[in-house]
């Protein structure tokens, strides 16, 4: 009793948050959440009834007379008839409830399966252990490649194309929509329509190796105009650094290992192994939602990623301190 009340409190407290299936931020998830609550209430009631049903005979005051101690082999006819009625009745109710659940679920499924003719298409590529995001555009020069952050417009249906380059990952934004796996050899897609702006946290939901735990993704839902403005900014190549320190940093970036894995549009860096850094400074987090994007964190990540994400593909870089300072200065110009 105590426990269940505590659980109830926690449950109520636990129904909001930026990574919470019960705090819907999309039309789709509202219907899923409704289904959940319906099933939850019914299930809780059934559990309560069953518990009472077996606790009553267990705890009711009993005086063991002789015929209780001895097995009564044949029960009185009406007793067994009553039992039969009760059990078959309970079974019938079970079937009925399941039927209702089934129909309700099919209804929700149907609703989720209907998509508008045209939707904004974003391609999401899973890597060990980060996310690569492509904003498609008929004009190749306008394609935007971003990482570890997914921006979507509010009120517009979005289609996420899911691809994996290595192992199976799973895309799951609890507030927006249920999960969908990224499976090598398959291209699948998932639709949703965010209906209130905000930043929602997603995290890889299929075990994918050492850093499965630190493979998160921020989903940012903007009002439509804000979104297109953001996309426009993202299309711009990296500006050339103005001050000498940053210019120095750029040299470091190109001479050190960085450019082998990371690309920066407008610079001689074409690496595709790691995230594209063209607009690194605009991102909220580093290392796939592991660290807030601050100068200190960035420096620490560059010098010693292996103690932050052991096993991550990013090697540790021994850089002269002044080179590091310059590099950081440069990376901060990547707005």
């Amino acid at each position: 009793m105590m426990r269940s009340r505590l659980a109830l409190v926690i449950l109520l407290a636990a129904c909001s948050g930026r990574q919470n299936a019960l705090d819907p931020a999309s039309a789709q998830n509202r219907s899923i959440t409704a289904l959940f609550w319906a099933m939850f209430v019914v299930a809780a009631f059934i559990w309560f009834v069953v518990t009472v049903a077996f606790l009553v005979p267990a705890v009711r005051q009993r005086r063991t007379t002789r015929e209780d101690a001895e097995p009564a082999l044949e029960l009185p006819a009406e007793t067994s008839r009553r039992q039969t009625r009760l059990v078959s009745g309970a079974t019938a109710v079970t079937v009925l409830i399941l039927l209702v659940f089934l129909i309700y679920d099919f209804g929700v499924g149907r609703a989720l399966a209907t998509h508008p003719a045209r939707a904004l298409t974003i391609e999401l590529v899973g890597h060990q252990w980060w996310w690569e995001v492509h904003y498609a555009d008929p004009d190749p020069s306008k394609i935007v490649i971003d990482a570890d952050e997914l921006h979507v417009p509010v009120g517009q249906s979005v289609q996420i194309k899911l691809v994996s380059r290595d192992v199976i990952h799973s895309f799951w934004v609890p507030n927006l929509i249920g999960k969908r796996d990224l499976i090598p050899g398959y291209t699948s897609s998932i639709f949703f329509t965010a209906d209130r702006p905000g930043v929602y946290r997603a995290q890889c939901a299929e075990f994918c190796g050492h850093q499965h735990a630190k493979m998160a993704l921020d989903v940012v839902a903007h009002p439509a105009p804000e979104f297109s403005a953001w996309l426009e900014r993202q299309r711009a190549p990296a500006a050339d650094p103005s001050d000498s320190l940053a210019a120095n940093g750029k040299r470091v970036f190109l001479s050190a290992a960085c450019s082998k894995c990371h690309a920066i549009t407008g610079v001689e860096a074409y690496g595709t192994v790691g995230p594209n850094l063209t607009h690194l400074a605009t991102r909220r987090t580093l290392a796939a939602g592991t660290l807030p994007n601050t100068r200190g964190n960035l420096g620490g990540w560059i010098v010693d990623p292996q103690s932050i994400k052991p096993g991550a593909r990013m090697p540790s870089n021994q850089l002269e301190s002044r080179d590091l300072v310059a590099l950081l200065a440069y990376l901060e110009t990547l707005k």
Binding site: L35, P57, L75, Q128, V167, W172
Partner: protein, 665 residues
């Protein structure tokens, strides 16, 4: 009582085999004593180390099986505790990702393959022969072989773990993560081979139980009188026969081949398919769950009957429920794959099937509750475990129904909601009845009762611990916590509930420690039980505790579903089995009419040797494919030796062939 016997007679009189029985004649004491002495000489296996290695007594083998499997429960529990410690706090550094992945993979592998299935099999191997009134199990040497194969698997997994070679791709070993490119080295090979060993053991046990339950039942125990525990074991054994080959194929013939000899089953670039693994694995993996908890449900019935002093309500319904569950369980595997790109229609079908299977389980629960209402339950420890089972398992069952819904499942899939669900089902549905069964049948195995005082502590702490540890995980899952993560950021806010879960885990540990103490104390010092301490009704209670090597002096005759409640006065038996050699009575499949006598083998070392040969083969195959032909040749030699030993001319047989009966050597 008398009306009961009349009932037994009345019910039995419709069966012909009782009609043809001659008038009963009392067997005098001297003869009984003499037979018992003679049988003991015939059936007892030699002592000493040699005797220990060569014994084929189904009870001593099953006892080892149970003890080994329980040790695995403890090992898996220790890993679980480590996992809980690591997750108790955000950004915890107790275990690194590499160690953590090995630990949780070994936890899953141990609990599913080395604890749950083997211990349920072992309970069957111990009690099915006793419950059907047979002298031993159908294939005693196969039985011993199965145990040793299992033991090889156990040792192999744990040696590897301590060599930093523990499998680390999850107990489901999804490809391509478990494939040669992303899991270099031998860690996943270890997993694949351990699985193979346990499959062999499970299949050996299954065939054994099927044949014993179908062909060696006491005269009069027609199909409609088989005890429900035996029914459960029978259904589960058939499920094993059709489920285990799937995982053996997936792990040995597909995954191990991909990793060792570069086949392309799962390489999409060469026509392979990573979804194929999930299909084949879950075709085994879902029935696996029912293979684990149907025997648990089978253990509930005799406990309820005994402590409510009532026949269970709805025997036929319970039997049918078992069978239908067995069937349906093969039709739901895709609900583990709802997040993968598979056709919507298929998903709906599997949703329907997944919800359907709740019905037979529900019926069983209703029947037990009805039985409890008609009687006056005595709240002994086994009964309390049954109540704990109902309390806990129903929650797991209901979350199971919720997960059957595709739309909701996509939210809960691969999160701690599912972790919570599966632990509610397996701990509630299998482990709690199992503990109840331990308390219920411990006297039959050791001759002594477990302490009720410690038992009460054990059951209360266990039920509370399980619920405190796993209920919060529902909420964690809905709050977005995926499974199999080695740590989480403080900002996620998952800290408090994880701490609560860890606290619950501690309570579980305490409870299990109490149980171990209870066993340690009671094994030698417990109160003497006598043949039938609970005044229960099954045939296993018709012999001494512990049962002698030959189980029964004379094969019992069954007059009803509850032999010890149905028969009055002298215990009805059938005589004529030879006592000077290991002879068992083989009966017909449907109405268990005596058919012929069968000579069971004596003690033998070959099962042990064969399991070693196979162990060398499989383990060697990890390092070089040439181990396969070599080991194969070795295996053949061993089988030759086995055959040579078993084809010795012993004595004159009565041979019935082509409707003539001849005496021949």
């Amino acid at each position: 009582m008398n009306d009961g016997v009349r009932a037994g007679r009345a019910r039995s009189s419709v069966d012909q085999e009782d009609a043809v029985l001659p008038p009963p004649q009392l067997i005098d004491r001297e003869r009984l004593e003499a037979d018992a002495r003679q049988l003991d000489v015939t059936w007892r296996d030699p002592g000493g180390l040699w005797g220990w290695l060569t014994t084929v007594d189904h009870k001593s083998i099953a006892k080892r099986y149970i003890i080994t499997a329980f040790l695995m429960f403890i090992a898996g529990g220790i890993q679980a505790a480590m996992i809980r410690m690591q997750l108790a706090l955000p950004e915890n550094n107790l275990l690194g990702p590499d160690r953590y992945n090995q630990i949780f993979t070994t936890h899953g592998t141990t609990m599913m393959f080395l604890f749950a299935v083997p211990i349920m099999n072992a309970m069957g191997l111990y009690f099915v022969p006793l419950m059907v009134g047979a002298r031993t199990i159908a294939f005693p040497r196969l039985n011993a072989f199965g145990y040793y194969a299992y033991l090889v698997g156990v040792v192999f997994l744990y040696v590897s773990l301590f060599l930093n070679t523990g499998p680390d791709a999850g107990w489901t070993a999804y490809v391509p993560l478990a494939g040669p490119q992303f899991s270099p080295g031998h860690r996943v090979d270890v997993w694949a081979q351990v699985v193979t060993f346990t499959e062999i053991a499970a299949l050996a046990a299954a065939v054994n139980i099927i044949v014993t339950a179908l062909k060696m039942r006491a005269p009069g125990m027609s199909l409609n009188r088989i005890p429900l525990f035996v029914w459960a074991q029978l259904v589960v054994s058939f499920m094993i026969v059709f489920a285990m080959p799937a995982v053996a194929t997936a792990s040995t013939l597909m995954l191990a081949a991909d990793r060792a000899v570069s086949t392309h089953w799962f390489n999409p670039a060469e026509g392979g398919d990573s979804l194929l693994w999930q299909h084949v694995f879950w075709f085994f993996g879902h029935p696996e769950v029912y293979i684990i908890f149907l025997p648990g449900l089978g253990m509930v019935t005799p406990i309820v009957e005994t402590f409510c002093r009532r026949r269970v309500f709805g025997y036929d319904a319970l039997v049918l429920a078992n069978i239908t569950t067995g069937f349906f369980s093969f039709g739901l595997w895709v609900h583990h794959m709802f997040a993968t790109p598979i056709p919507e229609l298929g998903q709906s079908l599997f949703t329907a099937a997944s919800m359907l299977i709740a019905i037979p389980t529900g019926i069983q629960i209703f029947c037990w509750i009805a039985t409890m209402w008609s009687g006056r339950p005595r709240l002994t420890t086994p009964m309390l475990f049954v109540l704990g089972f109902l309390f806990t398992f129903v929650i797991g069952g209901l979350t199971g129904v919720m997960l059957a819904s595709v739309t909701f499942d996509k939210q809960a899939h691969d999160t701690f909601f599912v972790v919570s669900h599966l632990h509610y089902v397996l701990l509630g549905g299998a482990v709690m009845p199992l503990f109840g069964a331990f308390y219920f049948w411990f006297p039959k195995v050791t001759g002594r009762l477990l302490s009720e005082t410690l038992g009460k502590w054990n059951v209360w702490l266990f039920v509370i611990g399980v619920n405190v540890a796993f209920f919060p995980m529902h909420i964690l899952g809905l709050n977005g916590m995926p499974r199999r993560i080695y740590t989480y950021l403080a900002e996620t806010g998952w800290g408090p509930l994880n701490l609560l879960a860890t606290a619950g885990a501690v309570v579980i540990v305490v409870s299990v420690v109490i149980f171990i103490v209870n066993v340690a104390v009671s094994w030698r010092g417990g109160a003497l039980a006598g043949p039938n301490p609970w005044a229960s009704s099954g045939l296993e209670w018709a012999t001494t505790s512990p049962a002698p090597s030959y189980n029964f002096v004379h094969t019992p005759v069954v007059l009803g579903r509850h032999p010890l409640w149905d028969s009055v006065g002298p215990f009805p038996v059938i005589t004529g089995l030879r006592t000077d050699r290991r002879e068992v009575l083989v009966t017909t499949v449907f109405d268990a009419r005596p058919d012929h006598r069968h000579k069971e083998p004596d003690a033998s070392i070959w099962p042990f040797v064969l399991s070693l040969a196979m162990g060398v083969t499989w383990i060697g195959s990890i390092f070089t494919p040439w181990a396969v032909p070599t080991g194969f040749a070795m295996t053949l030699l061993v089988m030759l030796g086995w055959g040579w030993q078993s084809s010795r001319v012993t004595d004159v047989e009565r041979v019935e062939t082509e409707d003539r009966l001849v005496e021949a050597e």
